[in-house]
């Protein structure tokens, strides 16, 4: 039994988590240095006892119950959860609007896709005139803005899929 061996064990002995073997007890009886060290450990532990923790409040169980209910009622990450996301919901609304616009426009024969550019021809503007050019720019701007929204939507979906 060395002083080092017994000292390593002192936090457990002083905290009452371990007893001393007969060999350790003999060592402590003859080694004033170790006995003094253990006594100091005991006093430190007793001082630390003064720091009391509060009991759980009477609301602990009620709050936990509420949080669990919320947890259980939360839909699994399926397609329905999609509607609960405010950003996604508004993006969805925009998409719906865009879809309706395209549908209506299609019925009026308004949009004609040529070489990836969209030509607006719903008002009787002669192709190649300043009016038709402005209309094309306007429509392209709207379309690009919608594409940005679609990009946002893609990112949001990724976030949802990999939380």
């Amino acid at each position: 039994m060395t002083c080092k061996q017994i000292r390593e064990k002192m936090p457990d002995v002083a905290a009452g988590l371990a007893g001393t073997t007969s060999e350790e007890t003999r060592h402590l009886a003859t080694c004033a240095s170790c006995a003094g060290e253990l006594e100091e450990f005991r006093r430190t532990m007793a001082l630390l006892d003064e720091w009391q923790a509060p009991e759980p409040s009477p609301y602990f169980d009620i709050r936990l119950q509420a949080r669990l209910r919320e947890e259980i009622s939360r839909p699994q990450a399926g397609w329905l959860a999609w509607f609960r996301h405010p950003v996604l919901a508004s993006a969805f609304t925009v998409l719906m609007g865009l879809g309706i616009a395209l549908f209506v426009a299609d019925h009026h024969g308004a949009f004609t896709t040529q070489d990836d550019s969209i030509v607006a021809a719903d008002i009787q503007a002669q192709p190649g005139t300043a009016v038709s050019d402005l209309q094309t720019l306007e429509k392209n701007h709207d379309m690009l803005a919608d594409f940005d929204l679609l990009d946002d939507l893609q990112v949001q979906n990724n976030v949802t899929a990999n939380p």
Binding site: E8, L17, E40, E50, P54, P56, P58, L64
Partner: protein
């Protein structure tokens, strides 16, 4: 979770038909199988130790309750993937330690110095002091509060792992082996970690010992 046990109700021992006590890991396997009473049992058994652990880690009773509840929510969420490879309490305290350490890191710059003034009740614990009952003189009470403040701030000032180990050892009565498992350290590393921590505390609190 319809049937959570009301607060204050004793913990009914969960026993098998053969009358054998089940381990917490066995009970967790019942939670995994969908037994809500088994989850209630674990909440009733561990809420007090977890609140006190979180209180000493976060030093605020409201935050401590919130974090302890979060531990139970995580236990519940992980029920389907739970494997009894480690002791249940090791797993539980690993979740708790991660949460507490992350909370401490997140709020490192927000937390004011601990202060316990004589005039005000202890905001952090809501503890009523003996002063009102006339058991302590105002001066004794002041000394007592000063001592308490020193204990808290010296434990708080320990390096993260030492602090966690001391709180588990001193206040949760966990032994070297269990603390070693929670902190993923060797047993001898845990012994020397704790020894250094207590040496520091003994030195820094010597005016009060």
């Amino acid at each position: 979770m319809a049937g959570m046990t009301p607060a204050g109700m004793g913990i009914a021992p969960v026993v098998t038909a053969a009358g054998q006590d089940l381990s917490d890991a066995d009970i967790m396997l019942r939670v995994k199988a969908g037994d809500s009473a088994a989850f209630d049992y674990l909440v009733q058994k561990y809420r007090r130790p977890l609140v006190s652990f979180m209180y000493r880690m976060a030093r605020n009773s409201a935050v401590a309750e919130d974090l302890a509840q979060e531990v139970f929510l995580r236990v519940y969420r992980s029920r389907n993937t739970y494997e009894p490879s480690a002791k249940f309490t090791t797993w539980l305290y690993r979740i708790a330690t991660n949460l507490a350490v992350n909370h401490a890191r997140d709020t490192r710059y927000e937390r004011p110095e601990v202060s316990v003034s004589l005039d005000e009740p202890d905001e952090e614990t809501g503890t009523t002091f003996e002063l009102r009952d006339g058991k302590l003189t105002a001066e004794q009470e002041m000394v007592r509060r000063e001592r308490l403040q020193a204990i808290r701030s010296k434990v708080e000032a320990l390096p993260e792992r030492q602090r966690t180990a001391v709180i588990m050892h001193k206040y949760q009565q966990m032994d070297y082996k269990q603390i070693a498992e929670v902190l993923k350290l060797s047993e001898s590393a845990t012994k020397s970690l704790l020894f250094r921590a207590y040496e520091t505390l003994r030195e820094q609190l010597k005016d009060f010992i």
